[in-house]
C-alpha cells in the first residue's frame, strides 16, 4: 500500500501525492527536468544536490536501474517526483527496480501528482523551495517549513559533493586515492593516456571522466578546495573544471583557484566549471527563473554556426555583459532564451560551456568539445584564437 505524501511550495501551493519509495520529510529547491530518458543519470548527478527533481515525462521506472548508468557513487537528489511510477521494469540490463534503488539510497520517491501543473507553476512563478513529506500532511505547516528552509541562493553545496581526497580515475572507475603532496610521477603512474589532466571536482559526473579518458587522457581528480599551487605542482597538460551544484557565487574559493590558474595551464570547464571561469574572468552570475534541465536544449556554436542539441542542468547563468575583459569571446549561445552557453578567450588557453557535452543523459552532439580540449593542450592556444 502506498503512503500518502504532500508537497508544499514556499508560495503555499500544495500537491498531494503518494510515496512509491521510502518515507520521511525533505526540504529542497524544486526543479523539473524535461528529458524523456535517463532518470538514473539524473538521480546520481551531483549537480542536483539540494534539489528535488520532477520529471516532466509521466512514466518513470520503465527500464529499472543498473550498475552502469551512474554519474556518481550515490543518489544525489533530495527527492524524486513522477506522475506514474512503473513498478515492473523491462530492460536486459536492469538489475533493480527504481523503487528498490531509491529505497536503498534512502531517498523519497513520490507519484500521482499533476506533474505538468507543477512544472507550469514553476515556469510561471520561478524556481521555489519546497518540502515533501509523508509525515506532515498539513498544508499550512508544510508550507511554513518550506518558507523557513534555506534554499540554494548563497549556499555552497560544492563542499557536500566534492571528493575529500584526490583519486586517479583509470579504466572507467576510481582506481586509487592519492596524496597530492606526494611525488607527482608516482601520482601520474598507472593508466594509459598521453595527456595528464587534473579535474577539479565540484561534483563531477562520471561520464565526464569516461569521456576524458576515452580521449587519451590520464585523469587525476582533486577536491574542490585544492589550491592552484598544488595543481601547478603536478604539472598537468590541462586542467578540467567540473560541474557541480548550487549557487556559483557561493563557491569563492574555487573562483580564486581558477583565477590563479588562468594562463598557467589550458583550462576546460563544464557547467559550474564554466561559471567558475566566468567569475574568474571578472563576470557575475545570476539565477535563471527556472533553469534549464533536460536533453533537448538547442545551442549554437558561434564559431561554426552549427546547432547542437544539448544536455543541460543549470539554474544559474554567467552574465556575459558583466565580463570586463575584451578578449573574452562568446562561443556558444542558447537558442531558446539567448543566454550564454560558452566562453573562450583570445589569448589565454581556456574554454568552457554551460551545458553538458558528456551528455548522460542526453545527445552526444557536443562530444567534439573533448577533442577541442585535446587540441588546446596540443597547441597551447585557445580555440577562439584559431
Amino acid at each position: 500500500m502506498t503512503r500518502r505524501a504532500l508537497l508544499a511550495l514556499e508560495d503555499g501551493t500544495t500537491f498531494p501525492c503518494f510515496a512509491f519509495a521510502g518515507d520521511g520529510e525533505v526540504a529542497a529547491e524544486v526543479c523539473f527536468n524535461t528529458a524523456m530518458t535517463g532518470y538514473q543519470e539524473v538521480l546520481t548527478d551531483p549537480s542536483y544536490k539540494g534539489q528535488m527533481v520532477v520529471m516532466t515525462y509521466p512514466l518513470i521506472g520503465n527500464y529499472g536501474t543498473n550498475p552502469e548508468d551512474v554519474e556518481s557513487a550515490a543518489v544525489q537528489v533530495s527527492a524524486f517526483l513522477v506522475k506514474e511510477y512503473q513498478p515492473l521494469p523491462s530492460n536486459f540490463r536492469s538489475t533493480q527496480s527504481l523503487k528498490e534503488y531509491l529505497e536503498a539510497a534512502g531517498v523519497l520517491g513520490v507519484e500521482g501528482l499533476d506533474t505538468r501543473a507543477l512544472t507550469r507553476h514553476l515556469r510561471i512563478k520561478g524556481a521555489m523551495k519546497g518540502v515533501l513529506s509523508t509525515r506532515d500532511l498539513d498544508p499550512a505547516s508544510l508550507t511554513a517549513k518550506a518558507q523557513r528552509s534555506p534554499g540554494l541562493v548563497g549556499v555552497d553545496l560544492v563542499k557536500e559533493v566534492t571528493c575529500q581526497a584526490a583519486y586517479r580515475w583509470i579504466g572507467g572507475r576510481i582506481d586509487r586515492q592519492v596524496d597530492l603532496a606526494g611525488d607527482p610521477e608516482a601520482i601520474w603512474a598507472g593508466g594509459q593516456g598521453r595527456w595528464r589532466v587534473v579535474a577539479l571536482d565540484c561534483g563531477i559526473k562520471y561520464n565526464i571522466l569516461r569521456r576524458l579518458e576515452a580521449r587519451d587522457m590520464k585523469v587525476l581528480v582533486v577536491p574542490a578546495f585544492t589550491t592552484a599551487a598544488a595543481i601547478a605542482r603536478l604539472n598537468p597538460d590541462g586542467v578540467f573544471l567540473s560541474n557541480g551544484p548550487g549557487d556559483p557565487a557561493a563557491v569563492t574559493y574555487v573562483v580564486e583557484t581558477v583565477r590563479d590558474l588562468l594562463g598557467v595551464k589550458p583550462i576546460f570547464g563544464i557547467c559550474l566549471g564554466h561559471q567558475m571561469l566566468g567569475q574568474a574572468l571578472g563576470g557575475k552570475t545570476f539565477k535563471l527563473k527556472f533553469g534549464h534541465r533536460g536533453a533537448n536544449q538547442p545551442v549554437m556554436d558561434l564559431i561554426t554556426t552549427k546547432v547542437e542539441i544539448t544536455s543541460q542542468n543549470h539554474g544559474f547563468c554567467v552574465d556575459a555583459a558583466t565580463i570586463p575583459d575584451p578578449d573574452v569571446v562568446m562561443t556558444h549561445l542558447n537558442l531558446n532564451d539567448r543566454t550564454l552557453e560558452g566562453l573562450s578567450h583570445k589569448k589565454i588557453p581556456l574554454f568552457c560551456v554551460q551545458y553538458h557535452p558528456e551528455a548522460s543523459p542526453g545527445p552526444h552532439d557536443a562530444d567534439y568539445l573533448f577533442d577541442r580540449f585535446v587540441k588546446m593542450m596540443t597547441t597551447g592556444q585557445p580555440p577562439a584564437a584559431a
Partner: protein, 1082 residues
C-alpha cells in the same frame, strides 16, 4: 542561411488515391508544404489525381493539376510549367518513385529543373537494398543478413545460406506489398514470386528474420547546414514481424535507457548523413534484440511518411512544413516553433504524455482474407490517443477505434470466460491478428502468466505489465459490483478507485458494464465526487515554454488548461479512423467546415482522433481536441467549451451516430434536424415520405424470418437486394437471383429476427444509377452536381465510376431528378448538404437512398464545379442563406469530370476482386478533360489501369451481353487492337463480321486464357461472366488480371467507356494537361 532566392516556382507531386499504406497523411503533409512555400512567395505547381484532398483545392497551389501521377503526365506538366525545382518527398512512395522515373528520362537536365529534398541518388541509395546495405556497412551499422534476388532460383539459394524463417521484402513497393515471412520452402516460393511480380525493379530481398525483436522508429530532420534533430521516437508494441503500419505503436520509446536511446539517435543521424538526405525529414527503423540489446537497422525512408504524420501529431512539431522550408534553403535555427513562438525549430520536442496509435483493419469486407498480420500492411486507417499514462492512452485508442469496444476489457464485449481454452488463447496470441491486444487481456483474465504471453507474442514485458494492471483493476471493479448488489453498485465505488479508473482510461461505458448500471449514472456519480475531465496542451516542450497553439487532449488531472472563450464558437465532429466507406472525403468536408467558420469569424473547434488527417493539423481550426469520437468524450468537450452549435453532418457515419444521443443530452446540433435524419434512415418513415411526395422507390419490404423473406422475394420478384437493417455502408449486402441464393444468404450471412429484420428490395437490373449532391437552406435548394454512374446499379456507389455532368440522361430526366431533389430537401427541412441516390430504368426514376448529410462525393463535386460546397453548407448551417452567399443556380461546367474508385484487392491474396453492393474501394481518382473519352482515360490511368492503345483485348461476355458487346469489339478492331474471345463470344463476334481469335476457357484445357494473360499476350480484359466459385473461369481470370496489373472490365457500360477512352487516347497526339484554375476560369 536564409532561403534560396533562385527557387521561384516549385512543383510538388502528391500521392494520388488513398490506398492501403498511403492514406490522407500525404494530403496533410502536402497541404502543409504548399502553405509553407506560398508563405515564402514561391509559386507552387501541384499534380495529384485525388480530388478528395485539401491540397488540390484551387486556392491552395497556384496551378493545380488533377491529372494522373505517372511519369508521362508529370513530364507534360513540367514542360507546361517549367518550375525551377521539383519536391518529391511529400507524396509518399508514389511521388518518390514517379520522380525517380521522371529523372531517368533526362527531362530535368533538359529543362534545367532541380530535384530538391531528395536527389535521385539519395532515393536510390535509401531504396535499393543493395546500396542501402553497403551504406550501412560504411558507417559500421548492422543490418539483418540478407541477399538480393531477382529470380526464384536465387531466392532458394539464398535461403539455404541464411536459413529459415526468412523475411521477403520486395524493393520499390508500397507498405511492403508482396512481402511476408516464410517459415519453409513452400511459403518462400509463394511469397517471393508475388514479391518479384510486385517490385518495380523485379527485385526482392531475402532477409534473416529478426522476428520478435523490439521495433523502434526515429523521425529525423536535417538541414543543409547539417543540423540534425530527432522529432520523435516510436516504439512498436507489436514486435518485428508485423508491419509498423499494422502495429500498435507508442511514443515516445518506453523501454530504452538513455544509453541505448542515444546509440540509436547517433545511428539515425549517421544514416541521414551517409544516405545523403540534405534537407527534410526521414524515418529510420531499428530492431533490438530484447535479450542483449543488439541493434540492427531495418530501413529508412528519405521522405515524410505515415510515421512522420503520427510524429507531428504526437509532438506538435509540423515535420512536413519544416521539410518544405528546409528544402528551399532555410536552416532549422532560422525557423520559429509555431507552438511556442519564442523558440526555434532547431530543438527536439519533448512530451509529457504518452501517445498510442492503433490501426484499424477491414478484414470483414474481404471474405476469404485471413485476419493475420505480417510484414505486408493491411490496415486501412488508424486512430491516435493521448493520455498521461500508457494505460489511459491505450484504452482511449481502443475506444477511438470505433469497433464497438469501449476499452480493453470489461465493456460487456469480452468473450465468455468458459470459451477461453488454452489452445484458443495460444492460437490467438501466437499468430498476430487484428484483435490480438484484446486476446492478451483475455489470456491474463484466464490466468496465463506474463512469461507465457511473452513467449507467444514477444510483446515487451513492460507493455504486458501495464495491460495486467488494467486486467487486475477490472477484476477489482467487478468485486465492487458484487458488494454493490447489496446496496447501490455506484456507492461502493469510492473516489480513489473511480479516479484511478479514469486516470487509467476506463470509459464510463466500461465502468457501467462492470457495475451493472448505465453510462450516465457513472457520469453523474463521478461529477458528484468531483472527478471531472481536464484538458492538457500538446506543446512540443513539456510546459517549459508557454504554448500558443490550442491543441488539447483530455485526461483526469488536477489542472485544466482549457481556454474556453466568449467568442461565437461551433464544434465540428470529425470522422475518426479511416475505414472503407469513411475516409478522406469526410475529413475534407470537416476541414472546409472549419475554414468556413473561420471566414465568418466564428471560432472553429475540431474534434477528431485520426492522426493522418488535415483536420487534426493544429492550424486548421481555432482549437483542436484530439479525442476519441465517443458520446462520453464529446460530451466532455461540449461541457467545457459550450459551443453554440455542433456540426455532425460532415464526418460520415461516426458523428451522425452521435447526433441523437448528443441531442438528447441537450447538445445543440446544427443543420438538418436529427429527426429529419431519422426520417431518411428509418425504412417505414422513408416509405411514407416518398409516398407523400409522390416519388417512386423499388418495391421493398422487411422480413423477420426466413419464410417471410422467401414470400416477400416471390412477391417482389427476383433479383432482389438483401441486407440486414442494423448495419451500414453496404455491409453484408447482396444481390440474389433466385430462392436458392436467398436461402444460402439467410443461412450464412445474417440471422433474421424481430430485433434484426432483413431488408429486401427489388433489384433494378441494368438500371443507370445517379448520385446527386445538393445544398438547401430551408428557403431554396441548389443542386451541386448530378453524377451518372458508369457501372449499372448494384455496384456500391462508392465503388463505381461516375461522370459529371451526366452523359446519357435526357434533359427531361435531369429535370425530373432536379425537382425530386428539391422536393426531398424541402420536405426534410435540409439545412446543409444532402445526397440522393437515384436509379433510372426504362425511363422511370426511382429513389434508392437519401442521406441528409455530406456524402463521399462532396469533394469530387466541388472539384468538378469549382464551388466549395461543404463551405457553402457550413455557412448555411450558421444562418447565411444560399442567396446571401450568391449561390443561386446549379453550376454547369463546360468540362467533363470522371471519378473512378481504387481497390485494395492486391493486398488480400485469395480474395475475389468482384464488385458488388458492399463497398470495398479505399480511394478515388478524378480525370478531367474536354471530352468524356479523355476524361475517362485519365481516370483509368490515374487509378493504375494501363489502357492499351495497341495489343490484344480479351472478350468473354454472358449471353445477354453478346449483342451489346459487338459495337465495342468492332471499335477495338477498327482502332487496330486484336481480339481474342472464348467460344460463345467468338461465335457471336464472327456472326457480326468482327475478326477475333479463339482462346480456350480454363475449363477447356491448356493453353487457356489465363496462360495467355500470364504470358503477356493480353493487354485488356472484358469479362462480364459471373461466377464466384474459385474454380470458375471468371474468378481465375479476375485474379490473374489483378496479379498481372491488367485492366479488367466487368460491365458493358464500362467496356463502352473504355473503348471510347482508347480511341480518345489514339486521337490525341499528346497528353493534355490543364490546371483546375484554368477550367474554372472557363
Amino acid at each position: 542561411m536564409p532561403k534560396r532566392d533562385d527557387l521561384k516556382k516549385i512543383m510538388i507531386i502528391g500521392s494520388g488515391p488513398i490506398i492501403i499504406s498511403q492514406a490522407c497523411e500525404f494530403d496533410y503533409s502536402g497541404t502543409q508544404a504548399i502553405k509553407a512555400l506560398k508563405e515564402e512567395g514561391i509559386q507552387v505547381v501541384l499534380i495529384n489525381s485525388n480530388p478528395a484532398t485539401i491540397m488540390t483545392d484551387p486556392e491552395m497551389a497556384d496551378r493545380t493539376y488533377v491529372e494522373p501521377i505517372t511519369p508521362e503526365y508529370v513530364v507534360e506538366v513540367l514542360r507546361a510549367e517549367r518550375p525551377d525545382a521539383i519536391l518529391p518527398t511529400l507524396g509518399g512512395q508514389t511521388a518518390l518513385n514517379t520522380a525517380l522515373m521522371v529523372a531517368r528520362t533526362g527531362i530535368l537536365e533538359e529543362l534545367g529543373i532541380e530535384m530538391i529534398g531528395a536527389t535521385p541518388a539519395v532515393i536510390e541509395k535509401a531504396e535499393s537494398r543493395e546500396l542501402f546495405r553497403a551504406a550501412m556497412a560504411n558507417i559500421g551499422l548492422k543490418v539483418p543478413e540478407s541477399a538480393i534476388c531477382h529470380t526464384i532460383a536465387e531466392v532458394l539459394a539464398a535461403a539455404r545460406r541464411i536459413g529459415y524463417p526468412l523475411v521477403v521484402r520486395p524493393a520499390f513497393t508500397l507498405g511492403g506489398t508482396g512481402g511476408g515471412v516464410a517459415y519453409n520452402r513452400e511459403d518462400l516460393e509463394a511469397i517471393a514470386s508475388a514479391g518479384l511480380a510486385a517490385s518495380l525493379t523485379n527485385e526482392v530481398m531475402i532477409e534473416q528474420s529478426v522476428l520478435g525483436w523490439k521495433e523502434f522508429e526515429l523521425e529525423v530532420m536535417r538541414d543543409r547546414k547539417d543540423n540534425v534533430v530527432i522529432i520523435c521516437s516510436i516504439e512498436n508494441l507489436d514486435p518485428m514481424g508485423v508491419h509498423t503500419g499494422d502495429s500498435i505503436t507508442v511514443a515516445p520509446a518506453q523501454t530504452l535507457t538513455d544509453r541505448e536511446y542515444q546509440v540509436m539517435r547517433d545511428a539515425a543521424i549517421a544514416i541521414m548523413r551517409e544516405i545523403g538526405v540534405e534537407t527534410g525529414g526521414s524515418n529510420v527503423q531499428f530492431a533490438i534484440n530484447p535479450a542483449d540489446g543488439e541493434m540492427v537497422v531495418v530501413e529508412m525512408n528519405p521522405r515524410v511518411s505515415r510515421s512522420s504524420a503520427l510524429a507531428s501529431k504526437a509532438t506538435g512539431f509540423p515535420i512536413a512544413k519544416m521539410a518544405a522550408k528546409l528544402a528551399i534553403g532555410y536552416t532549422l535555427d532560422e525557423l520559429p516553433n509555431d507552438i511556442t513562438k519564442e523558440t526555434m525549430a532547431s530543438f527536439e520536442p519533448t512530451i509529457d504524455y504518452c501517445v498510442v496509435k492503433v490501426p484499424r483493419w477491414a478484414f470483414e469486407k474481404f471474405p476469404g482474407a485471413q485476419d493475420v498480420l505480417t510484414t505486408s500492411m493491411k490496415s486501412v486507417g488508424e486512430t491516435m490517443a493521448i493520455g498521461r499514462t500508457f494505460k489511459e492512452a491505450l484504452q482511449k485508442g481502443l475506444r477511438g477505434l470505433e469497433i464497438g469496444r469501449a476499452g480493453l476489457i470489461g465493456d460487456g464485449k469480452d468473450p465468455d470466460p468458459a470459451s477461453l481454452t488454452p489452445d484458443l488463447l495460444r492460437e490467438k496470441l501466437r499468430t498476430p491478428n487484428s484483435l490480438r491486444i484484446f486476446w492478451v487481456a483475455q489470456a491474463m483474465r484466464a490466468g496465463m502468466s506474463d512469461q507465457e504471453i511473452f513467449d507467444l507474442t514477444w510483446i515487451d514485458p513492460w507493455f504486458l505489465a501495464n495491460i495486467r494492471q488494467l486486467v487486475d483493476f477490472q477484476a477489482e471493479l467487478s468485486t465492487c459490483r458484487a458488494w454493490g448488489e447489496l446496496v447501490d453498485p455506484l456507492t461502493s465505488l469510492d473516489e480513489g478507485l473511480l479516479r484511478r479508473a479514469k486516470q487509467w482510461g476506463f470509459s464510463d461505458r466500461q465502468l457501467a458494464a462492470a457495475l451493472g448500471c448505465d453510462e450516465l449514472a457513472v457520469r453523474r456519480r463521478r461529477e458528484k465526487l468531483g472527478i471531472r475531465h481536464t484538458y492538457k496542451l500538446v506543446d512540443t516542450c513539456a510546459a517549459e515554454f508557454e504554448a500558443y497553439t490550442p491543441y488539447f487532449y483530455g485526461t483526469y488531472e488536477t489542472e485544466d488548461e482549457c481556454r474556453a472563450g466568449e467568442r461565437r464558437k461551433v464544434m465540428i465532429l470529425g470522422g475518426g479512423p479511416n475505414r472503407i466507406g469513411q475516409g478522406i472525403e469526410f475529413d475534407y468536408c470537416c476541414v472546409h467546415a472549419s475554414l468556413a467558420l473561420r471566414e465568418l469569424g466564428i471560432e472553429s473547434i475540431m474534434v477528431n482522433s485520426n492522426p493522418e488527417t488535415v483536420s487534426t493539423d493544429y492550424d486548421t481550426s481555432d482549437k483542436l481536441y484530439f479525442e476519441p469520437l465517443t458520446f462520453e468524450d464529446v460530451l466532455n468537450i461540449i461541457a467545457s467549451e459550450k459551443p453554440e452549435g455542433i456540426i455532425v453532418q460532415f464526418g460520415g457515419q461516426t458523428p451522425l451516430n452521435l447526433a441523437v444521443p448528443l441531442y438528447k443530452a441537450g447538445a445543440p446540433i446544427l443543420g438538418t434536424s436529427p429527426d429529419a435524419i431519422d426520417r431518411a434512415e428509418d425504412r417505414d418513415r422513408f416509405r411514407d415520405l416518398l409516398k407523400k411526395l409522390g416519388l417512386r422507390q423499388p418495391a421493398n419490404a422487411t422480413a423477420t424470418s426466413v419464410d417471410q423473406a422467401v414470400a416477400i422475394a416471390e412477391k417482389i420478384g427476383y433479383p432482389v437486394v438483401v441486407r440486414p437493417s442494423y448495419v451500414l455502408g453496404g455491409r453484408a449486402m447482396e444481390i440474389v437471383y433466385d430462392q436458392a441464393a436467398l436461402m444460402h444468404y439467410m443461412a450464412t450471412a445474417v440471422q433474421a429476427s424481430p430485433d434484426h429484420p432483413i431488408l429486401i428490395d427489388k433489384f433494378l437490373e441494368d438500371a443507370i444509377e445517379v448520385d446527386v449532391d445538393a445544398v438547401a437552406d430551408g428557403q431554396s435548394c441548389v443542386v451541386a452536381g448530378i453524377m451518372e454512374h458508369i457501372e449499372q446499379a448494384g455496384v456500391h456507389s462508392g465503388d463505381s465510376a461516375c461522370v459529371l455532368p451526366p452523359h446519357t440522361l435526357t434533359p427531361d430526366m435531369i429535370d425530373e431528378i432536379r425537382s425530386a431533389t428539391h422536393a426531398l430537401a424541402f420536405e426534410l427541412g435540409v439545412k446543409g448538404l444532402m445526397n440522393i441516390q437515384f436509379a433510372v430504368k426504362d425511363n422511370l426514376l426511382y429513389i434508392l437512398e437519401v442521406n441528409p448529410r455530406a456524402s463521399r462525393t462532396a469533394p469530387f463535386v466541388s472539384k468538378a464545379t469549382g464551388i466549395p460546397w461543404a463551405k457553402v453548407a457550413t455557412k448555411v448551417m450558421v444562418g447565411h442563406s444560399l442567396k446571401d452567399q450568391g449561390i443561386l443556380a446549379e453550376a454547369r461546367p463546360g468540362h467533363i469530370s470522371v471519378k473512378e474508385a481504387v481497390f485494395p484487392f492486391v493486398r488480400f491474396p485469395g480474395v475475389d476482386p468482384v464488385l458488388g453492393p458492399e463497398m470495398r474501394s479505399t480511394g478515388e481518382v478524378m480525370g478531367i478533360d474536354s471530352n468524356l473519352g479523355l476524361a475517362f482515360a485519365k481516370s483509368q490511368i490515374a487509378a493504375g489501369q494501363v489502357l492499351p492503345t495497341s495489343g490484344t483485348v480479351f472478350i468473354s461476355v454472358k449471353d445477354q451481353d453478346k449483342p451489346a458487346v459487338a459495337p465495342v469489339a468492332r471499335k477495338f478492331h477498327r482502332l487496330g487492337l486484336d481480339i481474342v474471345a472464348t467460344t460463345g463470344t467468338h461465335a457471336a463476334l464472327t456472326a457480326q463480321g468482327i475478326p477475333s481469335r479463339l482462346v480456350q476457357k480454363v475449363s477447356q484445357g491448356r493453353p487457356h486464357v489465363v496462360d495467355a494473360m500470364k504470358n503477356g499476350e493480353v493487354q485488356l480484359v472484358i469479362n462480364t461472366a459471373e461466377g464466384k466459385d474459385p474454380q470458375s473461369d471468371a474468378y481465375q481470370i479476375r485474379r490473374a488480371a489483378l496479379e498481372r496489373g491488367l485492366p479488367y472490365i466487368t460491365t458493358i457500360a464500362a467496356a463502352k467507356a473504355t473503348v471510347d477512352a482508347v480511341e480518345a487516347l489514339l486521337k490525341s497526339d499528346h497528353l493534355s494537361v490543364t490546371p483546375l484554375q484554368d477550367y474554372y476560369r472557363g
